[in-house]
Amino acid sequence: MTSAPVTAIKAGLLSCDTCGLLSQPASAAEPGYCPRCGRELESRRHRSIERTWALVIAAAICYIPANMLPVLGTTTLGSTEYDTIMGGVVFLFTSGSWPLALIVLIASVMVPLGKLVALSYLLITVQRGSVQGSRERTRLYRLVEFIGRWSMLDVFVDTFTVALVQLSPLMSVRPGAGVLFFAAVVVLTMIAASTFDPRLIWDAISDVGSEPASSRVNNPQQESNLG
């Protein structure tokens, strides 16, 4: 188990990010184009760490106004009440639907914050060349990628609330500036997750056990799910 694992980059091979084809480029410095799909080949996503940091920092900045500014303004007979995201959660909780309040709290407050923390953690450990817990960190990355879209929940809730409650002068709902920042956080963190290259997590291990690339090829685990 401790012998150096053979990665594609060590064997002088590249797998295409678009179509997944494994090919042998003429030179490692200029790999050229994928022979199958014709897209440019690169062994690791271009400037992955810098780009992901930039997007994470931008999202962290947007996260503050997203939570401070109101996302909805409800006008009832002349008087207007503004609600932030947390205000919406509290409203749902006090009106008796605590399961929904919990869903909105998780999707709108905890998931975006958790994503920012998780991506920062992944970036820092990669930059430090950490070799521990690579499997767990890959799993964390997969979780971030999977869960990111659910933060859009509040944007949809606000959109449909605004669209439906237009009974002026009796009652009308207007979107607040917070919605834009909140949507920006979701979009930026989703792009950040896609610019981060999880292979960087494992590169540190390959660098430590630097044996010459043997022709040992690993066998994947097989499972089948026939119903």
């Binding site: 594609a8 494994l22 042998q24 199958r36 809730v157 009652m171 685990q221």
Partner: protein, 248 residues
């Protein structure tokens, strides 16, 4: 199973796209799945019917998508007044209220991305029924893969339900046809995703570089180069798991 899935033999070397580990894919049984031995990510899946089933599901989803986008999602009645909204009507109202950027994001995630994904996938699935499909099909497939993460039908469904419950405190609300259509779409999308095999689709598209000599060496050469080692390595365990799986 289509016999042209892998161009020569059952063993295909692949690099895990999450940890770059070089591995050899054994011949998977229908419905089987191979995952990376190091990081556990899914390397390949082999759905039972990778072309016709997603094609049927995608056609159904496209019809449902039309209903979901034209029928009213939900209605509201209070003091003798009635209002209803559609998906795109929601985005349009956001635009009218001065939230243009949010309106575009909502329209993209709720309408444009799901419709774009379905249309691209449908074209690809139709085109690859007679391989090799022309080069532009590869471009379509790339677009389908790109728009897929932004199609947020299931998130929108939950958003509609939360909005309904929130408004139900203020006025009488009722669910419209559109909401049921979104619910059906929410079930159809994962069914499509699990029945599509992207690798199989790529294998049926014509190569960009038909003559491999001047450029990078394709998969085929590599496979023959490493074949002896590969076979001796995977021979003991390769026949075991598939036979176990093909029992039913």
């Amino acid at each position: 199973m289509p016999e042209h899935r892998y161009l020569d033999g059952e063993l295909t070397p692949v690099a895990c796209h999450e940890c770059d580990l070089l591995q050899v894919l054994p011949d998977l049984p229908a419905g089987g799945k191979a995952s990376c031995s190091r990081c556990g990510c899914t390397l390949a899946t082999r759905p039972a019917d990778p072309i016709e089933r997603p094609l049927a599901l995608a056609i159904a989803a496209l019809l449902v998508l039309v209903v979901a986008n034209t029928a009213p999602l939900m209605g509201l009645s209070a003091v003798g007044r009635h209002a209803s909204t559609t998906i795109i009507g929601g985005a349009y109202q956001m635009w009218l209220q001065g939230q243009e950027v949010t309106a575009v994001i909502v329209a993209f995630c709720a309408v444009i991305a799901p419709a774009g994904y379905l249309l691209c996938l449908l074209i690809v699935l139709f085109a690859v029924r007679r391989p090799p499909a022309p080069l532009w099909v590869g471009g379509m497939l790339r677009w389908a893969e790109r728009t897929r993460p932004w199609a947020m039908t299931e998130v929108m469904m939950l958003g509609i339900m939360v909005a309904l419950i929130k408004i139900a405190d203020l006025a009488k609300v009722e669910a419209g046809m559109g909401m049921y259509a979104v619910g059906a779409l929410m079930l159809l999308f994962p069914a499509i995703l699990s029945s599509v095999d992207t690798e199989e689709l790529w294998a049926r598209v014509a190569w960009h570089e038909p003559d491999p000599e001047p450029g990078p060496a394709p998969e085929r050469e590599l496979a023959s180069e490493q074949a002896p080692d590969v076979i001796s390595n995977s021979a003991p365990n390769a026949p075991e798991t598939p036979s176990e799986a093909s029992a039913p």
